[in-house]
Assembly symmetry: C2
Homo-oligomer: 483 residues x 2
């Protein structure tokens, strides 16, 4: 990600989605000014348009997290290496990604500090001072922060050495309460993905080999991008007593015995911005769901003289009043209308209003949807009702289109040979019966590059054979090539 | 800051403000559950009550920053050491505070990365790719993030090795535009301090010796805490071309010549939480201005039987509806009312509503202000108007009280001997004429521990003599002992 060219508002060609999806993605991210290359290897610059999009995803998630009873804390970003080494699976999973602080205040540190890749180890350590009795439970924490993982193949929003996210960490008296928490927060993520980002998701458990380092089990939401690949968009983990035991976090239970709380963690990150790009974009660029679009309506005035300009400016006052609750921007720049149309399409603004002298004369404006470029005249007096309804319609249409795309690219198969054939010729997800063995995942990955995404449901014992090895299947699993 | 005792909701004695202000401050921060000791040296844990208070300061500031035309970006937290070494004054000022990442992904890094103490060097480097012409200016950036400075004497919120803040960085075509920006953002900070946190502030330039490393000049808002000491609560710096030149950031000007933009930076941090504690608190604990209080009204039900409890619960529905726009919390915990009163006073909740069977019988509740413990019955039907008016009144009263406190603890003096006498016997600020020499600041500091806080105004040449050395004074300056 070296800085090799400059993007300062000038719209250039973007690569075609069909021919080069990763190239298309990079072009859209940079030319729509969501993010840009950074002079620091493996990191990115999040530009204002991308950050505003993130704020519009973050804010409703923060509200959901608070409504479900969680409180925001802030824990230190630097974690002593020894903290991270206590949970064996956890350290094994994350150690290759550590970035270490070894010097501070001009001196070598006695113990290196790790830039948090995630904060289970810090929070379990800290909460030992807050949890003594069952009356102190549950503890429902969340924090919004930056985390650091040493990625070798960085990609904008999907995989960078530093990213922004929230991480929830909760501690409960009983396993079942903790498991309900895991499911509840996964459902919050589903709602953010589906209701705000208009991306339908599959939800379910991850396989043993795909679970979080240190978890008893992990659950995830997975969306299908427009290249048929899967993107994990949020995860929610059940730890049982793993972290409590590793960090000696105990409480006095109802029958006066020392117990280990059951804990969970769950996170959603700026990766969601990448998901929105890849789930809705097309060869013209971004396509933003209205509920999260930083600009919901772009107004392009069309005029040839100062007189016309003045007339339009005066008409705009009433229009902006009528659209008071909408995020509207007026593009007065000294550029041709066609240039502006292209640029706001590239930036994925859901609705464009064109207003020129002829429109004014007939008391109307021309309204164009990014969704399908459908164009229609709307009387000024109707804007206040038409525009919000149109935005709502676009939100639903994007979700439906993505859902139909996923359905149209998901097949049920029952043999490895069929899977190989599918992934050679097609894009999308494959659902098969599966016995649950990691060896099968390895075999499928080698033959197709696909991995298990989520376990869809349990199967009645003996009802079906594993598609990969023929042993009795226990679950139905979704396979896909993944980001 | 070792974890030496546990604070899990149990209210213990706090030290007296008069006898041991720093001890009182530490007790209030911990016992009101704003923050706590961290297991990592020099850092703290921000607890939910403290984080909610920070959110209530951060959110109106974010709105002001956006209303004044700035956009939020996100830049990497790790900055190559070489970037930081380009501006000589800047690196000299910050190098002792660096924390260095020297290993990543299991290998030694070719070049150490510095955890950002502030981001001037990163942003000037990045913006070289965005600024080519005068048409690209101004660039008005802001970011909300964590920064890292190796503090040797950490204190909750005031000085920790990691803290949260926003840092604005702007680039302009002309010096005067940049200087207007510096003043405009200082005024935003003044508004947050005065209108939201109810803390009156002095605004002005810092002396040469107190300015930001790399600035042409710095401005600040300074508040007086209840121990008479000064707290710098926000700073806004003018860099002229210093950073543009050091980072070779140029643009093509209107007359087609290569120019250096004039830049600024400005920041406000979680230190504001400490300011609120020290500006309004008393021996009972915190005292929160209503506009930023996480809980504006605490309702304490008083009952002796399940029947009474049920009656109160049912009356509460109507009360909570009437207070729909207010942040209200009902304390149903199984504790004595007196315990609850103390705890919510410690936590600084502005208004308490007590509701018992006798209140209900007469169709009223008892309302108590944290400000002065004034107690009065309020008919249920009047709550909807009385409570918001009372909160507004408390907000103003806190500001006025702090302003009067500052006025009552500020004197004008005209000799070093008088200054020594004042700082030996009294607390507060001293205003004197001053010639501007750093040697005088050194002399005053050695004799009194006080430093210059802000330059109040310029003086007509030859009108007065410097209070310290007798040379002709050029300015009137405010001296105080500072955090």
């Amino acid at each position: 990600m070296a800085v090799d060219e400059k993007e300062t508002g000038f719209v250039k060609e973007i690569r075609k989605q069909a021919g080069d999806f990763p190239g298309w993605y990079n072009d859209v991210v940079r030319k729509a000014q969501l993010a840009d290359n950074s002079p620091v290897a493996g990191t990115m610059i999040v530009r204002p348009y991308g950050y505003a999009l993130w704020e519009n995803i973050r804010d409703p998630l923060d509200r959901l997290i608070k409504q479900t009873g969680h409180e925001n804390w802030y824990f230190p970003a630097l974690i002593p290496l020894s903290f991270l080494q206590k949970e064996k699976d956890h350290v094994a999973g994350f150690a290759p990604e550590f970035q270490l602080v070894t010097k501070g205040g001009g001196k070598d540190l006695e113990e290196p500090l790790v830039l948090r890749p995630t904060s289970e180890t810090m929070i379990a350590t800290v909460l030992r001072d807050y949890v003594q009795s069952y009356r102190d439970l549950p503890v429902l924490t969340n924090q919004w922060n930056n985390v650091f993982r040493w990625e070798l193949k960085p990609r904008f929003f999907l995989r960078t050495r530093e990213f922004l996210w929230q991480e929830g960490h909760t501690f409960h008296e009983t396993a079942s309460e903790a498991e309900q928490e895991v499911a509840k927060m996964l459902d919050c993520y589903r709602r953010i993905a589906e209701e705000w980002c208009a991306i339908p998701v599959l939800t379910g458990r991850k396989s043993e080999s795909e679970k979080f380092a240190g978890a008893q089990y992990s659950t995830a939401i997975e969306g299908m991008m427009m290249d048929g690949k899967a993107l994990q968009m949020g995860t929610s983990h059940y730890f049982g007593e793993n972290f409590s035991r590793a960090y000696d976090l105990t409480y006095t239970g109802r029958s006066n015995e020392q117990q280990y709380p059951h804990s969970t963690s769950w996170g959603m990150s700026t990766r969601m911005v990448g998901a929105v790009v890849m789930a809705h974009g097309d060869d013209s660029g971004l396509q933003l769901p209205p509920r999260i679009a930083p600009v919901q309506v772009i107004v392009v005035p069309i005029f040839r003289s100062d007189v016309e300009r003045t007339q339009i400016a005066s008409a705009l006052t009433g229009i902006l009043d009528a659209l008071d609750d909408i995020r509207v921007k007026v593009d007065w720049r000294d550029e041709r209308p066609g240039f502006k149309f292209n640029e706001w399409e590239l930036k994925g603004v859901p609705v464009r209003i064109e207003i020129g002298p002829r429109d004014l004369a007939s008391g109307q404006v021309t309204v164009v949807r990014r969704l399908d470029r459908a164009k229609k005249p709307v009387p000024l007096a109707e804007l206040q009702t038409t525009i919000p309804a149109m935005l709502e319609h676009i939100q639903e249409a994007l979700f439906k289109r993505a859902l139909e795309f996923r359905k149209g690219h998901t097949v049920r198969l029952d043999s490895l040979a069929a899977m190989v054939g599918f992934f050679e010729e097609s894009i999308g997800f494959v659902i098969t019966p599966w016995c649950g063995r990691a060896e099968d995942e390895q075999a499928v990955k080698e033959a197709t590059m696909a991995t298990t995404r989520v376990i869809d449901r349990e199967l009645p014992p003996g009802s079906q054979a594993c598609a990969v090895c023929g042993r009795p299947a226990t679950v139905e699993v979704v396979w896909g090539k993944a980001y």
